[in-house]
């Protein structure tokens, strides 16, 4: 355990330094950072809304964290195979669109229930990421470009659908009709917290545990890691790297696809697909994966922490009229300092020499 702790120590120091710099910016804006940070923490982990005094903040944070964790897992699974998946955003959109289409078409509990809709979303995520995986393994097309291109393509496809067959004729804005009741993810603790926290958070926790065991105990998980460490060595020991790369991209797509479905089925936009519903969760997930050191439980913690900064930042903006960009700057600084972890190793080594 202490070894694990040591591994994450640089991240913790990074967070502290970034918070200090953020504090200096706040002082320059005439805000006491100590009060600001304690208000942020209170908003993020206890009370976010005056209507619901009990743990509404925590619920809001976990709700915000859910898509980040899904997309970070999508980045991580691909990364284990040595692939750099910038396509989580597009894969989330694919999952969300497929789920929406299915759940407004089949309005009955046999075909339109939430389990089937989630499977459809997983399949869509798998297929969309699978294109990049296929192009990589069949033609050697670099996955960085293909996933970027696929992101742009599906964003246009989304806009096409939202202005066409998925458009709700009753609504003035570009959004889909509401999905069938039976396809929705049940809210959890909503009576107490008045937040949209839903079963999707439980699903993402199960996924985190599942992925942990997959990489620790399963042959395919081992093979993915082997390909990531060295394609040649893996090939010489009888693994087909091409198949494994396709598999890793596909699995990544499943994670992201589920994340996209959670946004639609879990009530972040009242159960309809809107233009802005995915935000940039797919890209932020990349940062979360890196912050979580590419380990499933690390990602869980990093995702919650990242979301807490968002939720706390909103409270900060309301209470002190500080710009939300300060929080964005703090987030960026945290990542910069995490990347510079050797800086801290350098200092600790120096100290030991003395």
């Amino acid at each position: 355990m202490t070894k694990k702790l040591k591994e994450f120590l640089p991240s913790i120091i990074a967070v502290l330094i970034a918070l200090t710099i953020g504090g200096i910016i706040m002082i320059s804006k005439g805000v006491n950072p100590l009060f600001a940070y304690s208000d942020m923490a209170k908003a993020a982990f206890y009370q976010a809304s005056p209507r619901a005094p009990f743990l509404s903040g925590l619920a809001k944070t976990l709700f915000t964290a859910t898509p980040l964790i899904f997309s970070a897992l999508a980045a991580m699974v691909a990364f284990k195979a040595g692939l750099f998946n910038i396509g989580a955003q597009g894969q989330m959109i694919a999952g969300g669109l497929a789920a929406t289409f299915w759940a407004i078409t089949f309005r009955n509990y046999i075909l339109g229930n939430v389990f089937i809709v989630l499977i459809i979303a997983m399949a869509a995520g798998f297929l969309w990421a699978g294109i990049a995986g296929f192009l990589k393994s069949r033609f050697g097309v670099n996955e960085v470009i293909s996933t970027i291109m696929l992101n742009y393509i599906i964003i246009e496809f989304q806009n096409y659908l939202l202005n066409g067959i998925l458009k709700d004729p009753a609504s003035g804005s570009t959004q889909s009709p509401k999905v069938f009741e039976g396809a929705r993810l049940p809210l959890i603790f909503a009576k107490i917290t008045k937040q949209n926290l839903n079963l999707g958070f439980v699903i993402v926790i199960l996924l985190v545990i599942g992925i942990y065991f997959f990489f620790k105990y399963f042959k395919k998980g081992y093979e993915i890691k082997a390909v990531g460490l060295s394609e040649t060595v893996a090939e010489n020991s009888g693994i087909n790297p091409k198949k494994i790369m396709f598999l890793a991209m596909g699995l990544a797509g499943i994670c992201a696809g589920l994340g996209g479905a959670e946004r639609v089925l879990g009530g972040s936009a009242q159960y309809a697909y809107t233009e802005v519903i995915m935000g940039d969760a797919g890209f932020t997930g990349l940062a979360v994966a890196l912050l979580g050191k590419n380990s499933p439980f690390g990602i869980l913690i990093a995702g919650i922490f990242y979301a807490a900064l968002d939720v706390g930042g909103q409270a900060l903006q309301l209470k002190y009229q500080v710009d939300k960009e300060i929080v964005l700057i703090i987030q960026a600084l945290i990542i910069i300092f995490v990347a510079s972890e050797n800086l801290f190793k350098f200092f600790t080594l120096k100290r030991k020499e003395k």
Binding site: L135, N163, I329
Partner: protein, 289 residues
Amino acid sequence: MNIFGIIGPLIEQTITISAPIMITAVGACIGERSGVVNIGLEGIMLSGAFATTVVNLATGNPYLGILAGIITGGLISLIHAVISINLKGNQIISGVAINLFSIAATSFLIKTIYGVAGTTPSADKLADYRIILVLMYGIAIGAHFFLFNTVTGLRIRAVGEHPLAADTVGISVYKIRYLGVILSGMFAGFGGAYLTAVVLRSFSSNMSAGRGFMAMAAMIFGKWNPLGAILASLLFGFGQAFSDYAKTVRLPIPQQFLTMIPYILTLLALVGFVGKSRAPKASGQPYEK
């Protein structure tokens, strides 16, 4: 309709649309040939575009603005250089952080300097942008010969392929990598500067709109050669120009599918013509002395 009446403007459009992606992609080639991956180019372009507008508004001189954009690009890439070269940090994390930081810092500074959210006031555009355009393509082609026909260029490539061997023959791996990263930042800063000095008059948050990533795609597409990257960028630009043109002639195809053209074209081209491409061997690997 006169066929030349279509083709002429289409070529012109292709060249102008391609320029910012092209110059950034060529810079990326130099950086990555020295062994440092920089996915922060998107953010560096954004910062360059912002600095250009600020200086342009302050001095009324778009040329000074462009210069400021280039310098800013170089300065921000210094952060990336320190993290990737001296601290041996993860280059991808660093790049992601630079992107996030640039989006946040520019939006923050717009509010702090101009007191408005989202978009700066309008500055003067260049009266004649063609000089800049010629300069950009000139520099880009020059970069190819720099990389392949000069001693420094050879050293950059050596450091990116086999830093240990380069070190053994007395080349300073660190110095060469700093050069590569700073040049790539300056090129990206130029690309960003073009956006606010030539294309639009004001800066708005996140206006680079994925061009930095497109540039990386062009670099890979061009097999890490500046000339290849120029051609790839022109192909992207053509796709864009064509889809813009197609939108004006009311084809019975939904607009969104026309917008997809450059991206689909890129994927098809990668499958059909390029095949396997290989990054410089040491790219992304920190070098331990």
